[in-house]
Amino acid sequence: MQFLNPVINRIVIHQIYKKNKDEKLKEPPFKGTELTNFEDSAMRNFTKRYDEAIGENSRAIEMLIDIDRNDAVIQNVIQSIHDSDDDFIDSSFKIAKKLDKAQDQPIHKQGIVVVFTGKCNYPARDFLGIIKAETHSGYEKIKDLKTGKISLKFIEEVLLTPGTKLYKSVAFLKKIKYNPNETDLNKNWEVWVSDSQVNKAEGKAAAAYFLEKFLGFIYPQTDSRKTKIFYDVTLQYIQHLDIEQEKKNDYLNALTTYLKVDKSNIIDPIDFSEKYFNKEENTGYLEHLEQMDIETSSFVKDIESIKSKLKTRKLSFNGNIKIIGSPEEFKDKVSFESIDGEPDKHDNIPKWTKIIIKDVIKSQE
């Protein structure tokens, strides 16, 4: 999400608890009673954490508000963002309570719910942010002033350490053309979520309580097109790289694996690039995306429209010679390398390809 010059003006913190496994009961949420006043450095750090989770180049994905839901959190958000400071404490607590309600399984972790409002971008737009931060344990460095000895003090509950995995972040950002009379919420609001669970295998289901039940979000429809563009543009980049054919084969396999086999629900072009390409190729790839006017933000994977392309890997030669196979088999059983061929009558040495297929010939026609 574009998040220029963020200024957070009020923050309130509530707490929600975990469902007890045996009794299937849990403590009611705890309401923060006043606005949090961070010192400058703490505020900067907090803004930075949120920026890392939701800003440009982050793993956050853009979602849509489910307009068929009438109990969705967006109504509380609209109220909260316009409330006076006192009312904001109450209305933000309603948001925390909604999350508490959505967390109906013992597996859903307890944590604090930070609700905050502010402005960002040009022209300045209102936004409301929510962070659900799970607590974990850690240590604090302690230095004995007399002896200079350093020791560690165990801390049971630590929050918002670097590492976006340990918190879920949400942004409701007013669109430039925000109109209070507009009935289509998606025309008024841009909504983004950063939730590492979504990236994991079966992430959609695991994150459903947060994304759907609590936030009332749905995945945008355009992702199948975005996935196809990502595939086409990346394929084109790999095909035009000036590298050995064997390396190209590796990259094409990687692309297919990333789209077809990788269990993440998210396509993250930066992540793909950093994972597979070397530094120069990585830079070249990002430049290629820029030139093609393709954004690098993450989006939900949808391979529907490229399914048939992902089904086969193909090597083509002149004279209509082809080797075709499924990407998985191809990866395991086919290897090849460029070799120098026999000189022609002018003593030019042609390039040939040596192919090894780890199998016997099954049939010929």
Partner: protein
């Protein structure tokens, strides 16, 4: 004109020669300052115009080979100025100033570059010599300087100067006949000096050439700053450390990449305008590169960023770019 009349005239004319020498000296020095040269370091010997001493001018007019028909008019170094610099390119800087100034005119001067071409086998005294005369009659204070007032200006490297200092008195003014082998040594030392001056220039070029200069990126970004932000940018030396660290990614394309990115992001320009009121890094042309770096080339930050990390982290935060990724 006898010696006495000659001296009387010279004493009467001294104020106008002095004024003319002073005028030229100040003019050249101010132009150097305009080019951001620090005179204390650029000029290796403090510059001071000098009137010829009475004894020496009389000696030149009457005693030395009597080459002048009208010695008073023909002696052109009655006032002289000498600029001593370190490098050949510094000489070119000063000569450019002299050549381009409209306040004076000069005949073809003594140019050691041309002398080298004309006499490739000769290693002799080298210096740039100009005789400058006012382009029109000048009035400075109460002194009138007519157009026929000459001033000799010499421009040399420190090494050329050292050579001249030794040879001028010891050789040219020597009362006894100088031996051939001494002449040979002087010529050899000039050859050495010419070689060394060239080496100095090479070393200086090697130390100072950067891709930043080659592609004039700083100048281009400064112009862009003036255009987009509406005020001239500042310059702080710390930016050179950053440029130095990123020299390898500077190429003829980089400016266009940054420009393209800014065209797509008018909000970034708004951000820079606003932050420039409070943060000095936003008042420099390099800020365009830094916002581009923070938003588009995070991978270039981790291993290369040469100064305190919070500088770029803060820019990334202002830009809303996720800098840290786990």
């Amino acid at each position: 004109m006898n010696e006495e009349e000659f001296l009387d005239l010279w004493k009467k004319d001294k104020p106008r020669y002095e004024a003319w020498g002073k005028f030229i000296q100040e003019k050249v020095c101010n132009s150097l300052k305009d080019k951001n040269k620090n005179l204390d370091t650029f000029l290796k010997i403090p510059v001071k115009y000098r009137l010829k001493e009475d004894k020496s001018i009389v000696d030149k007019a009457f005693n030395r080979n009597k080459i002048y028909g009208n010695p008073y008019e023909e002696i052109e170094d009655k006032v002289g100025i000498r600029f001593i610099v370190l490098l050949l390119e510094d000489i070119r800087d000063i000569c450019k100033i002299i050549d381009n100034c409209d306040d004076w005119v000069h005949d073809p001067c003594r140019d050691f570059n041309k002398e080298r071409e004309d006499n490739p086998l000769l290693f002799d005294y080298q210096s740039m010599h100009y005789i400058l005369r006012p382009a029109k009659t000048l009035i400075i204070g109460e002194v009138e300087i007519p157009q026929n007032t000459p001033c000799e200006v010499q421009v040399r490297t420190l090494l050329q100067h050292a050579h001249a200092e030794l040879t001028h008195d010891a050789i040219y003014k020597s009362k006894k006949k100088v031996k051939a082998k001494t002449h040979r040594k002087v010529a050899r030392s000039m050859a050495l000096i010419e070689t060394t001056d060239d080496f100095f220039e090479d070393v200086n070029n090697e130390l100072n050439t950067s891709r930043l200069q080659e592609f004039q990126l700083k100048e281009k970004l400064d112009n862009l700053y003036q255009t987009l932000i509406g005020v001239p940018p500042n310059f702080e030396k710390s930016s050179l450390i950053i440029w130095d660290a990123y020299d390898d990614i500077i190429d003829d394309e980089l400016y266009y990449k940054i420009d393209r990115y800014l065209k797509k992001r008018p909000d970034v320009i708004e951000l820079i305008k606003e932050k420039s009121k409070t943060k000095s890094i936003y008042r420099q042309g390099i800020i365009f590169f830094l916002t581009w770096l923070a938003m588009k080339r995070r991978s270039e930050i981790e291993n290369k960023w040469p100064i305190a990390l919070d500088v770029i982290e803060e820019i990334a935060l202002d830009c809303g770019s996720s800098y840290f990724r786990d």
